[in-house]
């Protein structure tokens, strides 16, 4: 069965050598169709994100989602860990990159892995997917409505997270961006500017903005869910990952 996979919680040696929790969905046929690091949204390492990880596994990709809030709440419920993470100042960018790097390395070390790995992130994870792709050697990145890539948050009080405009020039992989035309963060104007920046610097990318959808249109457990955008969005994600994670002929992967 090409869609068989095994899923469950695992331990990952993350940034700084810390043991963190992660959720994995690993195809029974091996990791030859590529790996995907799933970056969860700020509400945490929740059921909806694990479902996304399983969806990728069912498509034949080896998927790993590191729990970015593990250090603030080891063993805690995802909502409690997310609250503790926010109270502690949020997820620092360097730690995020280190945890994603560990997940990338894990995926590349799986039996049968062809070496190609992508990142995908949602909401705050959209920004983090772009950041990780700029900082690491990955083969593709998916940004689902990530805000504050170019512009700072509307108020300067809060978490120590800012725009990553100056990191974009380090992007070496293709980027898929999925956005809601009615979203304010990121606004259509910010999406258009990011589109221009990537075009100007020669980063291959495709952006899609869905009419009638705002932020978090993939979130099936929230009022923001928009079925047309989500169905089309998943089709685009699958096609994009299939193209960019396909094994290189002769690589053995």
């Amino acid at each position: 069965m090409r869609d068989a996979f095994e899923s469950g919680t695992m331990s990952l040696t993350g940034h700084g050598g810390d043991q963190i929790e992660a959720y994995a969905a690993l195809p029974a046929e091996g990791a030859g169709r590529g790996g995907v690091v799933v970056i969860h949204h700020m509400p945490g390492f929740d059921e909806a994100t694990k479902e996304i990880t399983r969806k990728l596994g069912s498509w034949g990709f080896a998927a790993v989602c590191p729990n970015l809030h593990h250090r603030e709440g080891p063993g805690a419920a995802p909502d409690d860990a997310a609250a503790a993470s926010r109270a502690a100042g949020g997820v620092p960018d360097d730690r995020l990159v280190g945890d994603v790097a560990a997940a990338v390395e894990h995926l590349r070390g799986l039996p049968g892995a062809g070496g190609r790995v992508a990142t995908i992130g949602f909401c705050s994870g959209g920004r983090q997917s772009v950041l990780a792709a700029a900082a690491l050697d990955v083969d593709a990145a998916v940004d689902c409505y990530g805000a504050f890539v170019l512009e700072p948050p509307p108020r300067d009080r809060g978490l120590a997270v800012g725009p990553i405009r100056d990191r974009l020039r380090d992007l070496r992989c293709p980027v898929l961006g999925l956005f809601g035309a009615e979203d304010r963060y990121p606004s259509p104007e910010e999406v258009a500017e990011l589109d221009r920046v990537l075009t100007d610097q020669g980063t291959p990318h495709e952006f899609h903005s869905f009419e009638g959808a705002g932020h978090a249109f993939f979130a099936v457990d929230r009022p923001s869910y928009r079925v047309e955008a989500a169905v089309e969005g998943w089709r685009l994600v699958r096609a994009f990952l299939g193209r960019h994670l396909a094994p290189v002929p002769g690589s053995g992967g």
Partner: protein, 110 residues
């Protein structure tokens, strides 16, 4: 959007958490996606005792209107008692009462 704006403050008091009372020490207030409330964004308040781990918290997810109603109710409740009863600085209490008088229409004649 996931907002990053987060208000953090020290508090003193108690709250009923999952199964038991907690000595509350910190509050975190932010507007973001709720975990449970059926709204795109809510005012979220975490009242916590961090010394007892991440689960030691009382969590609220209120619509913006409900949050403001609650703020009004708290301010009205405090403004209605003598400062010494709640051990509040008299100057702060007087400021609160003046502010509350300004928020409500006058009833009756001068």
């Amino acid at each position: 959007m996931c907002t990053y704006t987060t208000e953090r403050l020290r508090v003193a008091g108690s709250g009923k958490g999952p199964g038991e009372w907690l000595r509350l020490r910190t509050a975190t207030v932010y507007v973001d996606h709720p975990v449970h409330a059926m709204a795109g964004h809510t005012v979220n308040v975490d009242l916590a005792d961090p010394d007892r781990g991440p689960a030691a918290r009382v969590a609220l997810e209120l619509t913006a209107g409900s949050a403001l109603d609650l703020v009004d109710a708290i301010l009205d409740a405090l403004a209605g008692v003598p400062a010494e009863v709640v051990d509040l600085d008299p100057g702060r209490m007087e400021g609160l009462r003046a502010a509350r008088r300004g928020t409500r229409p006058a009833v009756g004649g001068p």
